[in-house]
Symmetry: C2
Subunit: 339 residues, 2 copies
DNA sequence: CTGCAACACTTAACCGATCAAGTCATCCGT
DNA sequence: ACGGATGACTTGATCGGTTAAGTGTTGCAG
């Protein structure tokens, strides 16, 4: 089956290729009547512009890229990325941009992928997640002048647009809530410690605890996996002065923590309150359902996509702080049992 | 920053564009010495062939497509697809094929996406998941002659290659195991009932139970979500003659089922044994850890990618049954308590 | 009635690869 | 020494769009 081209349309409409191009792209240069005729023919024969030809003649590739730099076993269960992708798609599909995905092992390969994509003109821009301190990817993207939106800061990204959420505000809300319930020994199981947003959370957690007079606020670094989250929990709970509440940096670790607590014979929320960061269906699935810091990840992704599309269009894009996650109380938090 | 092209290489090497093309593609027509010189220059200036130009001049787009037809809230938590994607990437990245992703709402939009991708020449082939009976997508793909690998059959796919796993064998193993433990009332919470592999499982489950003399083997249809899985479990457990073991078609529903059982005061595995289909980290995360039907989903995806790449290359591709999932016993299964 | 701007197109160059066809030098067998 | 085969390239057409520059027609002000 042959693919229809603008030449086919031109022949049937009795005009030149150029006229068809102007008509279909809403450019001036053709009369309204001709435009309608051409559009009708395009519709009828099911015309889709060849994306390669379009990209080749200087226009955009109408595609953006996303690299995922996490091992497969984390990706498969971590709800965050799929939520983000769903959000991207809402905006991208509406403007018929494609999303190109690549799983990479290290930030170095990630850079190679960016260089290749740029060289191949395969994508018009990229989403960058997991911003680190002195992130090696940033100078490369700035050098290539590849439009990008950086998710997970804030940080120093040169000219690249950024989107982040108010993690400090969210953790403050969680700590205040736990304090209001009567907790005095609150711990946190953190995400990957070299990620910038993890550092933001850690700093905010330490500060708010200090300002509220909780001296023993401790953050145990982890890596977002259930195994590590479970281990970190076990380490916290074998202390004589064990915490009465733990905040987890993602839902997978929170579920693992719940499981460890139950395995150690502690009741949740009686002996231990649990707060999960990011509220996926996972949190309502377990027993008791987990109190969570809820944010609309799909909306977050959609926002990032709008920024990236604007950056690609050459419009000025501002750094944006998306709203604060809010606390959704469920069965995993309660006042601590009297000792 | 300007992107280097073969013209740049040609100029520096003092040869024509054509010679460069032959040299870089390993075609005959240039001497070994010249080839090495050209390759060295390409390396040095960091050349990447413009994918648009390549695709336009008849070669492949070096990209394949995947559509995901599930609501965002399922995608975010369902580990299967991310596992599959990781597997795809292993093979695709090695041959520097890109993976283009699109989230769609209905099989109808999915068809439109295929038509658009085909018209745009955006992808060389597609992965098709969730095969249904008389699947509307199959005739379209056959008509477009778009190379495809269908995952989740077996079914009638015309000329399209297929890959499926031995679901009947797996469910037989699970049922036999539960019987060996002493269970006589075994139920199943199924996936989306119109998916072909769900039907395969249902048929096999019914047959094996009948052949082993379990008369009351019932399958409750569900939709892979935790909520529905939980509801289905509740419906099963409020019966006077409630099952002593339940097999779930995915891990999310199994976790939800575990939670419902605990909420109803039943002990797992004492009062109820649970088997999950597909063994994600989720299964080892909860308490008790879930006995699961384990298969290597990434390997499954990698296999599908190899098939698709072969189909794109025009090689004959055979339908393949990937191995049987095997049972990984964990804490959620035990002999039923004496009544 | 002239001059010229506005409109509605057409023409053709261009993007950066691929590849069939053509050119030229060299080698080899007889 | 000559004809033909082989090797190592070059030339130029081609893919399917976009777009600057060119052309012919119409309308309207002066």
């Amino acid at each position: 089956m042959k693919r229809p081209t603008i030449a086919d349309i031109a022949r049937r409409a009795g005009v030149s290729k150029g006229a068809v191009s102007y008509a279909l792209n809403g450019q001036p240069g053709v009369s309204e009547a001709t435009r309608r005729r051409i559009v009708a023919i395009a519709q009828e024969i099911g015309f889709n512009p060849n994306s390669a030809a379009r990209a080749l003649s200087g226009a955009s590739a109408r595609a953006v890229g996303l690299t995922l730099c996490r091992p497969a076993r984390i990706l498969s269960i971590e709800p965050f990325f799929m939520g983000l992708i769903s959000g991207f798609e809402q905006e991208l599909a509406a403007r018929s941009f494609a999303l190109t995905l690549q799983v990479v092992a290290t930030p170095q390969t990630e850079i190679e992928v960016y260089r290749r994509w740029w060289g191949e003109r395969r994508v018009d821009g990229v989403f960058v997640t997991d911003l680190r301190e002195n992130d090696v990817r940033i100078p490369v993207l700035n050098e290539l002048q590849l439009p990008a939106v950086v998710i997970g800061g804030p940080g120093d990204t040169g000219k690249l647009a950024q989107l982040w959420s108010d993690d400090a505000g969210a953790i403050t809300e969680a700590v205040r809530y736990l304090m209001a319930l009567g907790h005095r020994r609150i711990a946190r199981v953190g995400g990957l410690p070299d990620l910038l947003h993890t550092q933001t959370r850690t700093r905010a957690f330490t500060e708010v605890c200090a300002s509220l007079g909780l001296s023993e606020a401790v953050t145990v670094p982890s890596d977002y996996t259930g195994e590590e989250g479970g281990r970190a929990t076990r380490r916290l709970l074998i202390n004589a002065e064990r915490p009465t509440a733990i905040i987890y940096d993602n839902d997978v670790m929170a579920v693992a923590g719940l499981s460890v607590a139950q395995e150690m014979g502690l009741s949740v929320p009686g002996d231990l309150s649990i707060v999960a960061w990011d509220d996926s269906p996972l949190c309502s699935l377990v027993h008791p359902p987990l109190t969570a810091l809820t944010r609309d990840i799909a909306a977050y992704g959609a926002h990032a996509a709008r920024q990236l599309l604007a950056a690609i269009a050459g419009e000025p894009v501002e750094d944006v702080e998306e709203g604060t996650a809010h606390l959704t109380p469920r069965g995993s938090t309660a006042p601590p049992r009297e000792p």
